[in-house]
């Protein structure tokens, strides 16, 4: 009897949970759905020129077609390889450098003005320089991504190292930890959350800057694809390319959020 009652209670609770989840999903997607509906309706109702703004369903059909024939896969692959390479180089260089600068006050004194200047120089403003020096090939595109990723990671690493709770350092020193152990066991892990903020910012800007660079001069990649289709008046293809960029951005960020959660499971929810 009680078992039956319990089971039905459990079912009721599960149902309530499902309803709550459904309502959360609905609430968070309502704005998006309205946007897509407007997109769909505007060209059909004559509010926008369907040649320049094809209805969403047309773009979606083109997108599916491009996905099937591998065009999107090729462009995304090219762009992600460049962005990934630049991002990886920036991570490998900026994090250790950030630790050095954050840890040694003297290093910061020498280097801060230099970094401050470059940090405030927009990466894209330097694109002509990169192309002049490194040519129009892969090197210049990867280099500009490195440049764009470098500063958010570097600065967040410096902040992460500098904002380590002094009490934790005192306590670890009182436990007899030497400098190396203190660094590995206290400073590094406590800087991880701050560093990760910079890493996420860098990942976002890596794609952003790369697309722009590809639009200026490239033979493949998402940025190239969008300008190329625009020049050739393949408007639905162009929109499909833009949608792809949005999806790639969302996917990259979601991946990093997931990684962040995994790395920082010790944090209070």
């Amino acid at each position: 009897m009680t078992a039956v009652a319990e089971a039905s209670q459990q079912r009721a609770r599960a149902a309530a949970r499902a309803r709550r989840t459904a309502s959360v999903v609905l609430r968070s997607s309502v704005a998006l759905l309205v946007f897509l509906a407007v997109w769909e309706a505007a060209p059909r109702l004559g509010l926008a020129d369907p040649v320049f703004l094809p209805p969403f369903s047309t773009v979606l059909a083109t997108f599916v077609g491009l996905l099937a024939d591998g065009t999107i896969g090729l462009q995304v692959g090219t762009s992600l390889a460049r962005a990934g390479a630049g991002f990886a180089i920036a991570v490998v260089v900026a994090i250790p450098l950030g630790f050095v600068i954050g840890w040694y006050a003297r290093a910061a004194q020498y280097l801060s003005p230099f970094f401050e200047l470059f940090r405030n120089t927009a990466a894209l403003a330097l694109l002509p320089v990169f192309i002049l020096v490194l040519g129009i090939g892969e090197t210049s595109k990867i280099a500009i991504v490195v440049y764009a990723c470098f500063f958010p990671i570097l600065l967040s690493t410096i902040t992460g190292v500098r904002t380590v709770d002094p009490l934790l350092v005192r306590s670890a020193r009182s436990l007899g930890l030497g400098s190396a152990a203190l660094f590995v066991k206290v400073v590094l892990p406590s800087a991880v959350p701050t560093i990760f903020t910079g890493v996420r910012m860098a990942a976002t800007s890596s794609i952003l800057v790369l697309i722009a660079a590809e639009m200026v001069g490239a033979k493949a990649g998402l940025g190239f694809y969008i300008t190329y289709t625009q020049f050739n008046f393949q408007i639905p293809e162009m929109y499909a390319g833009i949608v792809t960029i949005a999806l790639v951005g969302v996917a990259v960020n979601a991946g990093l959020v997931l990684l962040e959660r995994r790395l920082m499971r010790w944090r209070a929810a």
């Binding site: 009490l167 306590s171 436990l175 406590s190 920082m264």
Partner: protein, 282 residues
Amino acid sequence: MTALTERPVDAGVAAGPPRLRFDAVRKEFAVRGTGTTLVALQELTLDVAAGELVTLVGPSGCGKSTLLDLVTGLSEPTGGRILLDGHPVTGPGLDRGIVFQQYALLPWRTAQANVELGLEARRLPRAERRRIAREHLELVGLAGFEDRYPHELSGGMKQRVAIARSLAFDPEVLLMDEPFAALDAQTRETLQDELLRIWRATGKTIVFITHGIEEAVYLGQRVVVLTPRPGRVRAVLDVDLPGRGEPDRDVRSDPAFVAMRHRVWDALHHAGAAASTGEVAP
């Protein structure tokens, strides 16, 4: 006044050299921009015997934390010496364990891994570290909580982990800096009893810093009353109250406890009165 600051260590404790000796310890800080110095501790002299639980009580600004930093070896006295088993303290070491008011646990480590931190500095093999950490978590009443992260523990439990961590590497002296000040009243009383139990079980020398008179009287075999700015020993009072740490006895309502509490209060507020009632040894 000066006569009151010195007190022989012999009364009530075993003879022999003190475990911890503060020998006319003085600490000055340069005041930024003014060229003057601030005297935080002035010729502080105190002996702590092996196995003793001494409480230091004083108003804020009496240099309690400065004193703790000196004993820890995180800073050096301007004058005088601090001797541990006859050897001057020169830097941080595992012969002293410290418990901070704010726990100072590493949030990315579980309770178990936090306790192991000091053992890692001692380079013990992993299995040994595990065993010792587990034993000490059990000692502080946290068996079964080994895999919890600090944010999953209550304030009292965090402080238990911190105590376990400081005891795990078997220091000669345990220094506690207002360890229960951030806890609610009930948890504090529970942990005070726990501390007395742990102290009896381990026989550690404990120096307990607090601003709570009641806490000082409840825990200390001796209560050392410090003066504010500059910090020095104003009075040392022996506490002899049986039944402390026994959970079923309300020692705090005992007239003897209340009287003792008042004597410490007097010493804190009116140095002269404390001297005239004879609580302070010559």
